[in-house]
Amino acid sequence: MFFDTPIYILFLTLVTLAYWRLQWRHQNILLLVASYVFYGWWDVRFLGLIAISTVVDFCCAKAIAASEENHRRRALLTLSLIINLGFLGIFKYFNFFMDSFASTLQALGFHQTPIAVLRILLPPGISFYTFQEVAYIVDVYKRKIPPAESLIDYALFISLFPHLIAGPIQRPSHLLPQVQAPRRFDRDRFFDGLLLILSGLFRKAVVADNCALLADAAFSGRMGPPSVAVVAIGTYAFAWQIYGDFSGYSDIARGSAQLLGFHFMVNFRQPYLATSLQDFWRRWHISLSTWLRDYLYIPLGGNRHGERRTYRNLMLTMLLGGLWHGANWTFVIWGGIHGLGLSIERFVRRLLSRDEPVASTLWSPGGWICRVFIFHLVCLSWVFFRTPSVTDALALLRGLGTFVWIPEYGIALRFLAVFSIPLFVVDLFNEFRSEEYLFERTAEMRRVAIGVCLMAAVTLLAANQLNAFIYFRF
């Protein structure tokens, strides 16, 4: 069930209407059933997987909390991690590693080596709920949080439908207490939730899906052979597509959660206004970047063991972060570009004896030079993210040495401007007013007017493609 379809709107309406008529315990049961219906809508077979990993983690966490013996606690943690990451590895990465192994053997001269390939579907959202389960079990192990007493509460924490498929990855310390306590209906927050959903639909259906038309044409060669113009159109279009797509998804997820009285963490904070790569990762997919920081970078040693280890940890974190996105070397390179960029940034800052990037206001010309540079660096990395193979990415980038211009490219850039500039202006506005979403602190009537405008834009300009959200694949 995609968020931008009428069936989801109907589903959400029915669930919300029923939900607020029930008492807290019954609300949780209703949400759990609704979340499993939502997930089973793709394929009921996937329900078994999420149910198994939920029960295993629930039991392991309780046993870890009940035990005082370190080796037993560690064994249980390891068991849980093996099961969670094992599922992820089998379903998402098995074929990738087998293919890579076969290619290596072929390169070494071993031909016709029989390689096992699994014919399996990737369960939607497995990367997201696995990370949430890992966070829970690690936090219980570190005694940061107590284990959930009720299986229903824990299962709901894992499967709550607004975040189930593509996040934001919720921290147990943030979401679990909300699940375990009664929620109260708040009219203002409910209205904010509706606006967030409309804002998300605008970002997804109007901005992302229209930019996707150009990005798809450029990356598939339908705009002509690679040249500066084709690469620019393709990467700019994809940059706004993926931003509109994922931030739109996150807005709809947060808005849906808010209708049910939950609060989800902010996942995007004007990422294309970042003045450094470090700043970018504090604004882009925040729930993932903070997860990687807390559960990978810091356990690896973070910046506590000297400069070399810090650079190694940065690279490892970003490479694995890249691989998390998909089982393809293009994602590893994408992560590598960011890891390398972050390392270079850190090195330069050390040279200049600065611990943190310099904060830059919207009025500083130097800040805008940095913003433009970072935006283009991010765009370069998007080439690898978007193309199906490294060879394709390199072939496209080779086009940067060719300049061809035809009038259609001008139309394409104007088309891109029509759909990307509104989002850019919204970002500028939010940055200027330090708001989480548009007109957060504006009078109610104006916000109603904004809601109507968003709805009109979605009605008139939504592209008619059942485009799955990009992050649904991950």
Partner: protein, 307 residues
Amino acid sequence: MSLAVEVAVRAGFDRVSKIQRRIASEYRLATMIGRSPCTGHRHVLLIGNSLLYADIQFDRLRDAIGTECDVRRFVIEQTGYMDWYYGLRRLFHNGARPDVVVLVLTARQSIGSSIRGDYSAEYLIDKNDLPSAVRDLRLNPTEATDLLFAGVSKFWATRAEIRNFVLGHLMPDLGGLMQFSGAVNPTPLVDDEVEHIMYARLARLKAISDAYGAKLVIVVPPIHEERDGAAGFLRAGSAAGVAMVRPVPSGSLPSRSFLPDRFHLSEIGAAEFTGRLIPLLQEQLERRGVRRSPATTAAVQSSRASL
């Protein structure tokens, strides 16, 4: 708000959009074909996608076929076999009684297993056919419910056209970009594979036409690329007992006969193609061997009487 949008779209969209107005009018005329009491006429219905619209000079064809024929056209762009399989069922179900149905499709458009999208639910897929369409098209539950909503809501079905209409006014030169970047699949088709897929499909299409006493004629238009699978398509047609007409082989027309998208014919190409199509189509009309069954004749007469 949603209700207001739905009402507004139902009330106004067909009037303000030229394309929508044309499709709605052609659809209405297509469903009425053969129901008028002028019994001396033969009723010919041409159906297809933008290739029918661009490649065939309809007025010239209609004039050439003669006054004793009632020739009508129903074009919906970006449609393929699956659209027209269900489209034909819907037309017959809604009362269309043509003597001859002429479907204009390339081999590639015929072997595809997709539909135009939610728009198909507006004019092509009947609500009663939705369950079998969902099975045929192997739609997932989300796509299936989307199609179901499109069958109920005109706004949902036509939202892409609404966007195109708005964008067309905001950026009048957008059509040039879309034509330039349009997806033309360059992979050559294998005739045997086309034949294998199309035999059953054409037989299925013929069965519908036969049930209503109409003769089915398939016109295969030329495209720029030579290996278009048309030979396999023709073989499948003759094996299934469907009349196949291919006036101009693909790859035989010069580049100036095509529009910049190298897919649709230019005016020069359309003139050439129509000129060669007319005698072949006339021959098919003369040869029209399919007679109406007594049950169909009775059904036609009763539907005429009810008008």
